[in-house]
């Protein structure tokens, strides 16, 4: 087992070749179904071929459907997409309805590798405000302010800083220590 099974790749949904901006194009280019003519596991595939396949192919001339009989092999499907990806899927013991649904899914897919979507949309231009600069979202009242401005030149912090508080505490401690020493000396005398 390789690590590809453990970690699902993540990404954003993208339309291949701006599909849909002009006209919609079916993204699957060919589907190959391999099956056995006699084995029980291919029963559903044989039913699909006998009853549904002709109509399915007539309705979907955008891709080529190949049938490949393989003696005593488990049936499976290989879908090839326009972006060069290839998908395998086992049809072992599938019935006719299941096969119709899965083939239809393969037809409507874009061929992107299976991934967890980080978001359900994607844009090349995430900001409609353009590139950020230090002047973006500036207070508009600054446009009509005349400088030097008393209000803006005022010191922000009037309370003592942490450093100042520490220094004060240190001085206080020193004072207390010296007083204690003096009282001790008086007692000893």
């Amino acid at each position: 087992m390789s690590k590809t099974h453990l970690y699902l790749r993540t990404g954003f949904p993208r339309a291949p070749l701006a599909n849909g901006l002009g006209r919609y194009m079916c993204q699957v280019k060919r589907i190959t179904i391999k099956f056995c003519k006699s084995h029980g596991s291919s029963r559903g595939v044989r039913d699909f071929i006998e009853t549904d396949m002709i109509d399915f192919v007539k309705q979907n001339p955008e891709f080529v459907l190949y049938l490949k009989p393989r003696r005593h092999h488990s049936p499976h499907l290989i879908a090839e997409y326009l972006n060069g990806e290839k998908f395998h899927m086992s049809f072992h013991n599938f019935n006719r309805e299941e096969i119709s649904k899965w083939v239809n899914l393969m037809k409507t897919r874009a061929g992107a590798p299976i991934m967890a979507y980080r978001k359900l949309g994607h844009t090349d231009n995430p900001s409609i405000q353009g590139v950020w600069s230090p002047f973006a979202n500036q207070d508009t009242s600054l446009n009509v302010t005349s400088f030097p401005n008393e209000k803006l030149s005022r010191k922000f912090q009037t309370e003592p800083t942490a450093t100042e508080l520490l220094l004060e505490m240190f001085k206080k401690q020193q004072l207390e220590d010296s007083e204690a020493n003096e009282s001790k000396e008086e007692e000893s005398k």
Binding site: L17, L21, M25, T32, F63, V64, K68, D124, S133, F135
Partner: protein, 340 residues
């Protein structure tokens, strides 16, 4: 002789047999391991690059006629089968096939397909004409130099070959080389456009070009595809054409002076004290240039505030539209009158 000794081989065989049927199944990992080892051997021991996968046409499940039929259906176009086959056949393929037949002893090699060379040039000129015409209508305020630049970008080998491979041409183009070169895809795409044009009319072929080539501008900024030199001079030229005073650049913001993160903001103002362009940069000179570019973008209606290009316009190819004005003679008033 004890019974055990007498039947030891049989018992042994029996045990082995049982053991072997217990370890049943098809060991998939063995073939995978061997393939991986072979690949590494090729890479490291012989210093070779891994060989490309075999061409799709060499597979058993390959029917070229069916592929051609579904290719036409996928594009949603009616194309004459002979023209379609011709448009996807390179000259190199014909040459190789003829040589093959001669090697077998056939004096006059017969091939039931023609090469696409006569289609390529006509298709290329049609595509070029249509792209320019479409851009002029979609971007009526964009100068002709910009239209040319965007047109040149769209018709580059890289862009066209990418489109061609994404509509599935890389598998079905008949050519001598493998893997297929981008130049082959480039010329085959134009041959395909010409095949569509000859099978239908200019309007259908034009819509095909619109849907597949022009949509490549989606999500792109047309200003990035056109490099303007000295934008400030160009802005002044336009204001001279308008007969107005030249716009004045002013420093409207500065932060982090004399640091590595210095930032200046410059805006251009016209004679009515209206801001026409705003830009920023790490020096005043760069900020001024960016502001001039912004002012030009706003004039050409291609800034980020303007509506994106429409991809559903119906262009009448027979009707010749006048070219857009060049930068030197660009005049907003005349253009506004022309567009209504």
């Amino acid at each position: 002789m004890s019974i055990q000794k007498l039947f030891s081989t049989a018992l042994q065989a029996h045990r082995t047999y049982l053991f072997s049927i217990q370890a049943h199944g098809f060991k998939k990992d063995v073939s995978r391991k061997l393939m991986e080892l072979y690949k590494r051997k090729e890479d490291i021991e012989f210093g070779k690059t891994p060989s490309p996968p075999p061409p799709r046409s060499s597979y058993l499940e390959w029917n070229y006629d069916a592929e051609l039929y579904s290719f036409g259906k996928r594009l949603g176009e009616h194309i004459e089968p002979n023209l379609l086959a011709q448009s996807l056949t390179q000259r190199s393929f014909i040459v190789v096939e003829e040589e093959k037949q001669k090697a077998v002893g056939i004096e006059d090699p017969i091939l039931n397909v023609q090469e696409n060379t006569p289609l390529v040039d006509e298709g290329k000129s049609f595509t070029s004409r249509y792209v320019k015409q479409y851009l002029r209508i979609a971007l009526p305020f964009f100068p002709e130099e910009g239209i040319q630049s965007v047109h040149n970008y769209l018709l580059t080998e890289k862009v066209i070959a990418n489109i061609a491979s994404h509509i599935g041409m890389n598998d079905i183009v008949q050519t001598a080389e493998y893997p297929i070169e981008t130049s082959s895809l480039h010329s085959c795409f134009f041959a395909l456009v010409e095949a569509i044009r000859q099978s239908n009319d200019d309007h259908t072929a034009g819509n095909f070009v619109r849907d597949f080539v022009l949509t490549q501008l989606g999500g792109k900024n047309v200003n990035d595809l056109w490099d303007i030199e000295n934008p400030e001079d160009k802005l002044n030229t336009i204001y001279r054409n308008h007969g107005e005073e030249l716009p004045e650049p002013r420093l409207v913001g500065a932060s982090g002076k004399n640091t590595i993160l210095a930032n200046y903001r410059v805006a251009f103002y016209n004679k009515d004290k209206q801001m026409i362009g705003l830009g920023f940069g790490e020096s005043v000179q760069i900020a001024k240039e960016m502001a001039a570019r912004d002012a030009l973008r706003r004039l050409f209606r291609t800034s980020e505030r303007d509506a994106p290009i429409k991809y559903n316009l119906d262009i009448n190819t027979s009707q010749q539209k006048k070219v857009n004005p060049s930068l030197e003679e660009w005049n907003e008033k005349i253009l506004l009158q022309a567009t209504g």
